[in-house]
Subunit: 318 residues, 2 copies
Amino acid sequence: MANIRDVARLAGVSVTTVSRVLNDHPYVQEEKRQAVLAAIEESGYVKNLNAVSLSRGKTEMVGIVLPFTDHSYFAALLKGIAEEARIYSKKLVLFQTDYESDQEIKALEMLKHKQIDACIFCSRSSEWTVIEPYQSYGQIVMCEEMHENVSYTFIDQYQVFMKALHYLERKAFKRIGYCIGRRSGTNSEERERAYRDFLSSRKIPYNEAWIFDDCYHMQDGERVLEEIGRMSNKPDALLVTNDQTAAGILLTAEKAGLNIPEDLGIMGFENHPIAEMLSITTIDLPLEEMGRSLLRQAIKHEVEKKEVTVSLIERHTI
Amino acid sequence: MANIRDVARLAGVSVTTVSRVLNDHPYVQEEKRQAVLAAIEESGYVKNLNAVSLSRGKTEMVGIVLPFTDHSYFAALLKGIAEEARIYSKKLVLFQTDYESDQEIKALEMLKHKQIDACIFCSRSSEWTVIEPYQSYGQIVMCEEMHENVSYTFIDQYQVFMKALHYLERKAFKRIGYCIGRRSGTNSEERERAYRDFLSSRKIPYNEAWIFDDCYHMQDGERVLEEIGRMSNKPDALLVTNDQTAAGILLTAEKAGLNIPEDLGIMGFENHPIAEMLSITTIDLPLEEMGRSLLRQAIKHEVEKKEVTVSLIERHTI
DNA sequence: TTGTATGCGTTATCAT
DNA sequence: ATGATAACGCATACAA
């Protein structure tokens, strides 16, 4: 396969001149430019971007770390990231981690080894202390609030959860529980903190049984409702941190003959199309916008912290 | 940043020896190995995989071309691909194309430019004739039946559609229409061919109005049902090529007071959790398995054609 | 068992 | 304007 030297030889010029033509640099006679172009054509030359990366010290690729791709929350984030990446001509390298720490490390190692220029963590299970040292190898961007010297785009989960709780309170719900993906992680911990603060300010005892974790998909909603069915002391409303699970709860509840929201108030999160279709009251999360912001932060060198705001969409499950 | 030469100097050995240690090659004295290891530690050396790629002529990365990531069909395919990629230590470069041909070309150009070793097309809008020439630059794998000299993993859409039509016929549906993502593309054309063959063998006239395209999400189902509502001559059953749309149709129908399947039979495709939740009769598509197969084909050098089989899941919408 | 020298394909520097 | 040459960092055939 022809390389830049072959082209140079064929065109009767130096490799430098060929490189100039290739990269649209000035200072090359039209005559020689044509000769080079002809030689490229004749030899079927194609640039080896790998060599370019090595020489330039950059790959123009960004790593995306997320636990699952088959989940609407991350899919929406990814969509925004991909759209923005197209604008800046960045390529995306995907790391589907299943929340396994060693998979996250793989992404960081790739950053270290100069296979990617930057890395976006849509979510993580690794401790920040293991991620932090990798910052010296390239930009690392997080999708959660941090206090460190990192770029991030975030939603103030504490405020949002608190706002949702107040809304439920105004609607006269008294026994509020919540569903969440996992108990750990900044975002989850912020929500739990809001929940506990809310309860204690009202002198309501904290009830561990009303917190349901591992809630990601519709089936998880089914499971949650079954669990509630077995309880003697049932919650009368649930904050459900994703619309898929909320939909699962709603559909299962209706199948079971429950009246929503009379028997159980349901507040979703995301404002996914399914929430609109099922008329689920939810918190609209601007995920695609967040994705775009994350990518922009990944390619800029300064540290930037960006908060995005959410809005409550009133529908019929509260 | 230290490179392999620095390490060699520090350890008092040659770069070859360092390389041997780095790649676990035999023939290196334990003593020198330790010296190298120490030098690596001391210098904070990290391998530049970009240089490795250039030297080896491979990147161990595979491009994934798909129109959307926020769609369960492609998300499931991607999940399978990602799982298998992990096994073989391949990295994934994502191309979200929105079915824009020039985005597909970008992936092919990356193959040409040696940034990726292979490329998987989960779906495409480009003509095969524009893709085909790129085969000389690396393995290209398709997710549809081809007659060319390419590797692919496929579902016999003609057979599947025919099977579904026969099933509907047995269940006494007479006026069958269908919903599809897009009219073009091999898979869609195969389905249309089956549909037309079925109709003509029964001497049933073909009715363009009963074919609904641009059906990907739940809302599209809503739209379809609205359209049907305005028809004087309505279909009595629909083959819906994805469960999301099928769910949208079902939910909208129920909201409108229709009886399913009496007023409208609905057959989904994919067997997504939502189909189970809503008890939608559907065709189970082994998407994750297909994804895994696609990745394996991408990393092997021989041409391989693999068919996967599907099964009909009887539930309550037919 | 180890080292030398060369190749991988480009970009960048510095003359001219 | 153009070219020679040195990086970029690693792998490896071949020699010893």
